[in-house]
Amino acid sequence: MNRRTLISAIALAAALGFGAPAMAQDKPDIALISKGFQHQFWQAVKAGADKAAAEFNVNVTFEGPDSETQVDRQIDMLAAALSRNPDAIGFAALDSQAATPLLQQAKDRNIPVIAFDSGVDSDIPLTTATTDNVAAAALAADKMAELIGGSGKVAVVAHDQTSRTGIDRVDGFVNRIKEAYPNIEVVAVQYGGGDHLQSTEITKSILLANPDLKGIFGANEGSAIGVVNGKRELGSSIVVIGYDSGAQQKQAITEGLMNGAITQNPVGIGYETVKAAVAALKGETLQPVIDTGFYYYDASTMANPEIAAVLYD
């Protein structure tokens, strides 16, 4: 038993065991490279993509780096996907510039590229399937104003200040408050990387620093859960508005710890991306942006069919 036998055995097992789907290559092959993988949001995007794959009879693979900071890992994934010679590519860039040479390569090889989620800052993608994050966060601001009675202090806990979604959601919320609600003051905007624990600590420090705070907007799933945790640990009674869904957030809304949340339509993002790729393969012309929509939901509307369909666990 030496290293060679061990390694060849496992590699062979890998190749035979999991390689099987790659062998059946008569269907169009579409590679999606996303910004994440294990998060429930991305799994919902994947579910939508898989649904479209079954419907349109294509093969879809879905990959993304462990964390949204790993720009180079995502580039490696895109490079490997290109080597596979796919018929089309779906891509949600962590950093558009870094991906440009590879996207150019895809264009030169006539592989259609469909951007999704935060999209790609380039003219190579044929279309972008995405949520209007600015408008969605503005809706969160409106709901916040309504729930706190139109005046007082509020804060934002967001995931990061470098990504498009982070920037758009914070701007969308803060600008809406400034423009439409002169009696409301945004006293803090802090970033917890979308990490539950970090966002919890941030929330607690905001609450302790501002005892008269009326509400907090958590700008993505991890941030929102952090806000709920912080509120629970300090026994506070502020208004909380979240973003996206997931089992924990849905439970918080049911229990009344969170007043409501904005949901994108992640399933729709995945579905529309694959659908657009299939259309591109057929040579159809695509709209430059496919708006995949968003909703505000709370305990009373959570079970409505149109909402329940886009929430994920």
Binding site: R3, S8, A15, G19, A80
Partner: protein, 332 residues
């Protein structure tokens, strides 16, 4: 070359073992390549082989830095965030201050060396265990990268030729059929220099000696602190090179990236047969370890293996590789 890459601190028998071991690690790599080539016609394409090499360059350079420290019996957890820190410093010098390219390169390597000096001093003089000292440095550097960059990526659009450091191809401009990216050349260059230092210089001899029996070295009148600090500084400088590579590859310094990269580097080091308890290791082994990691990642992706399973397979390979090493060692 063979001699420079072998473990010099031990007598004759080990030297043969070293050669044998490299052969084994190498055959593992070959086995993977053969299996993937048979499984998919897209694997052995020039473009894909280049993609694999390109993907190895950053982790390979980081792993070489980690190897040096690990041979002394220490560990460096700060390699990933130090790489980012150096990239950010380079961005500040080139983009914010508008200085010429060579100064940016120097700044990155100097920043790495300085950070290594600090880590080494904390370990050698303050006697803080390397794990803790470099864990602290990892966090300090992560924070400083964010502070200095204002948590935004710094782009190198104003420095023409910056992307050429990793993405261009000097070889390709002479032999168009062989467009090996410069990043890969730099990896091999760093490997050759590190192997030379380990095998042919006093610093190399003390690196192994510190890992084998630091007390004995000290008692024989050697200033072990100074040599230890030198090793950490050298490793830091190499992380500076990695910072340049990743920044050039992405055409930007991404301040939030880097944490977690130390684990991939350490994985490459152990797969390559370097002992975590120090005193034993080779640069060639580390290089092969880094290649095994990227061949695996790339091959599994080419085969469209679900991502959940990719990580399971990679983890399994790491354990098997090290276990095979232990078996072989026991038998000898």
């Amino acid at each position: 070359m063979t001699d420079t890459l072998a473990t010099p601190a031990k007598p004759q028998g080990i030297r043969i073992t070293g050669a044998f071991h490299r052969l084994l690690a190498f055959s593992g790599l070959i086995a993977l390549v053969v299996v993937f080539s048979l499984a998919s016609p897209n694997f052995m394409q020039t473009n894909n082989v280049l993609a694999i090499l390109q993907a190895t360059s950053v982790n390979g350079v980081l792993a070489i830095a980690a190897t040096l420290v690990i041979i002394t019996g220490g560990i460096d957890l700060s390699v990933g965030t130090l790489m980012t820190f150096c990239a950010v410093i380079c961005g500040v010098v080139l983009t914010y201050l508008g200085m010429p390219l060579p100064l940016g390169i120097l700044a990155a390597i100097a920043a790495g060396t300085a950070s290594g000096l600090i880590s080494g001093t904390i370990v050698a003089k303050l006697k803080v265990p390397p794990f803790i000292a470099t864990l602290g440095m990892m966090l300090i550097l992560k924070g400083l990268s964010l502070v200095i960059s204002g948590t935004r990526p710094i782009y190198f659009n104003d420095t023409p030729g910056f992307t050429q450091i990793a993405q261009g191809s000097i070889i390709g401009s002479v032999f168009p059929a062989l467009p090996i990216p410069n990043g890969v050349l730099i990896l091999f260059l760093v490997a050759i220099i590190a192997a030379f230092i380990l095998g042919r210089t006093v610093l190399g001899r003390y690196t192994f000696a510190l890992g084998s029996n630091e007390e004995a070295v000290r008692l024989s009148g050697v200033n072990t602190d100074r040599w230890k600090i030198a090793v950490y500084a050298l490793a830091g400088g190499i992380c500076g090179v990695a910072g340049l590579l990743i920044a050039s590859r992405l055409n930007s310094a991404q301040p939030a990236l880097g944490q977690g990269y130390e684990l991939d580097a350490i994985a490459a080091v152990v797969i390559g047969g370097t002992s975590l308890s120090g005193g034993r290791g080779t640069i060639l082994g580390t290089l092969i370890g880094a290649l095994i990691i990227s061949v695996l990642a790339n091959g599994l992706r080419i085969l469209s293996v679900a991502q959940e399973w990719q990580t399971v397979v990679t983890g399994t390979i790491i354990i098997l590789a090290v276990y095979a090493d232990i078996l072989r060692r026991r038998r000898l």
